[in-house]
Amino acid sequence: MSLFNIFNKNNKRKEQNQQMIEPPDIPTFPVSINMEENRKYIKETFHYTEDLIEKKLTTQSGKTLYLIYFDSSTDKKKLESSVFNRIYELKKDQSLDRAFEELDSVKLFVLSDGIDELLAGKSLLLIQDTGYCYAVGTTELIQREISEPENEKVIRGNHDGFIEHLSTNIQLVREIINHPSLVVRYNTIGEVTKTKTAILYMEGRCDPQVIEEVQRRLSKIKVDKMITPGIIEEYLEDNIYSMFPQFISTERADRSAINLIDGRIIVLVDGDPTALLLPITFFSFFQSGDDYNTRWLAGNFYRMIRVISFLLAVTLPGVYISVITFHYEIIPFGMTFVIKDAVEHIPYPPLLEAFFMELTLELIREAGIRLPAPIGQTIGIVGGLVIGDAVVNAGFVSSIMIIVVALTAIASFVVPIHEMSVAIRILRFPVMIMAALLGFVGIVFCLTIYLIHLCKLTSIGQPYFYPFAPFSFKGLLNRFIRIPHTIEIKDSEKDNQNKKSSSS
């Protein structure tokens, strides 16, 4: 029963989330005429933190100014050029306000708003005897260089990858799509981190309902945790219990741009180089930028290889288990005895054998990622070659099983999107267990359940398994197969609707 309680709890949590949206928790504090009160308010809000610098400046006209900024996130050069120099240059008769209005600054009447600006790296300029203050843009940008993402390489085409800085990322997209219909909407999410997120879409190409739905779901996010795309993804997902990723996360600017043009939304998060593409279909995961840059026949060939490798990675260990457990008669005559030879002295049932090898492989993979690159390679060699060979020689695992596991592993790495290849690796285990219980019947049983799930799954309300369910022949030509660029297949009105919102 407890299992179902989980669902109920979840429902309750959703209700709570809806109630929590509105009230802001910092009480408003208008800028006081009394300077001391203002300074005290700011310092108290920041609990007298020591990287909060306060500088007293006096203009030639004798006005006292207080410049408050965070030492850690302020660009000193900017501060000097825009604030200090400006103040020293001020003539007696020149108005202070005019000087600052020419700067990158915002006039604030409420000091509590200034808190947020300070946190964002701006400096706050308090002026004696006035009921307002200025927030001056002196934020220091920490940026790394734009390089090609490590895990999504292409041979031909754009090598730009997103970085951790939001506006740079948007700039990258804008560079590819120079069109006025590209719209950016900012949101700030997270109680603690106050993370800036941006939704990008093409007006007129994107389904407005989807945009609305995405914004509704984003506004529901109320967490204390770090805002990473992972969290946003879970809040945006239609089915969080599904094993299939419902969004593509990519670090490639060109992939994002292509998807924007196809009518999708991308969600960018400040501080994270990955963009979420949504809504998405199952087959989008099997596409790579290379498909569109190589010749169309080759593009199709490699796309098919990826789809086949998906099937292979999910079913191959299961098929092997069921063949040597239930259906050895399907092995061709010539191979019967080779396989019989291999499995003759294996002490464990094939399922255990397979689990042992698969888990070892995952172990090696995980260890390889965590370790620094030079040691990672050693682990690969030790794990792959030494363990593989020794395990066969010792007679724990049959040599055929090593072949199967190795093939499966390679097949699962072909899929270009990391989330999907993780999903594939997990999808394989139920198939293996069912194969050991019921043979081919079990595999069919398991795959049927997967298929039903895929057909029913949606991504922001759009069908996940398009163009197969709902079936569309034109969609198949446009999305599943990569036809030559010069041939254009006109979608009918209804398909057009689909095209706008779903699939690739």
Partner: protein, 369 residues
């Protein structure tokens, strides 16, 4: 409610029948088997199963013989002699002893038809002696005997010496009152090597006679079974210098046999008119002279006559053994049903008259003109 659904789903998966897994490592794979009828009425079953031996090219074979009152009984007795369970799902060749098939063939096959695990694709052949002997004989130079026998039969099928048959395909013919089976007939040569002796003709379930390889090739052609590589050697002259010049070897390119049946209602007799058009290629003709039109016409005529005679001999042999290999009964059943109803085909078959006309036409004569 939800819980019960979940529970029943889990139970459905876990408790559906017994776990009928058969691990490959716990199975003795039988590749060839021989079944014999012993004098005391019990069956003897001999199976050959290669023993896996890693990194060795030739397989060592274990031969196990068991006897029992039924085939399964005999198999059980084999089971008791092996460490692992005997499994015939990968059976390649099934050899039947002549004594068994002279009596009845079906009892030996019954268990194979009933057992869902049987290998229905395995080839069936008759051995002129004890099948167990052939199975248990260690052949020199042919360590993989099962494969050797299967390949032998397959090559014979390609050359149309025997019909393409397996355990599954003989079943409908076996139960057909209007047609009889013809099985490959193996024998052991003087040098202890098995060879294909011809075909065994069956009358119903009983073996009734044999044909040699050359006759059986003709019989297969008459049945309309033509493999990709059918060769016939016929004597066309008897006065040449060298003996070899008297013969011609032809390769059949096209074979169209037609069989017309005529039932005379008055005498209730059946006339079978067999007409066979063979388009052939001359493969070997040491006499040469192929460029001359006359020789070709002469050859055509001689071959036609020769093969017509052959067809008639074969048919008389079939009638003698009461083996309706051509399926004449089937045709009567279909096209002359009242007649079929009236007579007992078993008794009537030896009495039908058969006239044959084989027309040979040489369409190619090799690359030498």
């Amino acid at each position: 409610m939800k819980r019960s659904v979940l529970l029943s789903l889990i139970l459905l998966i876990i408790l559906t029948g017994c776990w009928d897994s058969r691990l490959l490592r716990d199975i003795t794979i039988v590749k060839s088997a021989g079944i014999d009828l012993l004098e005391d009425g019990t069956f003897q079953s001999t199976v050959a199963s290669p023993i896996p031996d890693v990194h060795e090219a030739d397989e060592r074979t274990q031969i196990i013989t068991g006897t029992g009152n039924t085939i399964l009984d005999a198999r059980m007795s084999i089971d008791n002699q092996t460490a692992e369970r005997v499994d015939i799902a990968k059976l390649h060749v099934l050899i039947l002893g002549e004594e068994l098939v002279r009596k009845r063939i079906y009892p030996a096959l019954d268990i194979i038809f009933r057992d869902p695990r049987s290998s229905l694709g395995s080839k069936v052949a008759v051995f002129d002696g004890k099948a167990g002997e052939l199975i248990s004989r260690r052949l020199e130079d042919k360590p993989r005997k099962s494969d050797f026998l299967a390949d032998l039969l397959e090559t014979a099928e390609n050359s149309s010496i025997v019909e393409t048959l397996n355990v599954q395909l003989i079943c409908p013919i076996l139960f057909d009152p209007g047609e009889d089976i013809v099985l490959p007939y193996l024998s052991m040569g003087e040098d202890d090597q098995p060879y294909l002796k011809g075909t065994a003709l069956f009358n119903g379930e009983t073996m009734a006679g044999t044909l040699d390889t050359s006759d059986s090739t003709m019989l297969m052609l008459m049945k309309g079974e033509m493999g990709p590589n059918v060769l016939l050697t016929e004597q066309v002259y008897d006065n040449q210098d060298m003996d070899v010049q008297n013969y011609v070897t032809i390769k059949v390119k096209e074979s169209v046999p037609t069989l017309d049946l005529e039932v005379k209602s008055s005498s209730k007799s059946v006339n079978a008119k067999f007409n066979h058009v063979l388009k052939v290629e001359v493969i070997e003709f040491p006499h040469d002279q192929m460029q001359s039109e006359e020789v070709i016409v002469d050859l055509n005529e001689k071959l036609s006559k020769q093969l017509t005679n052959k067809a008639e001999t074969i048919f008389s042999k079939l009638q003698e053994t009461n083996c309706d290999a051509l399926g004449i009964g089937r045709k009567l059943f279909g096209f002359h049903h009242p007649y079929w109803e009236e007579v007992n085909w078993q008794d009537e078959y030896p009495n039908i008259t058969f006239t044959s006309d084989v027309n040979v036409e040489i369409i190619h004569h090799g690359i030498i003109n």
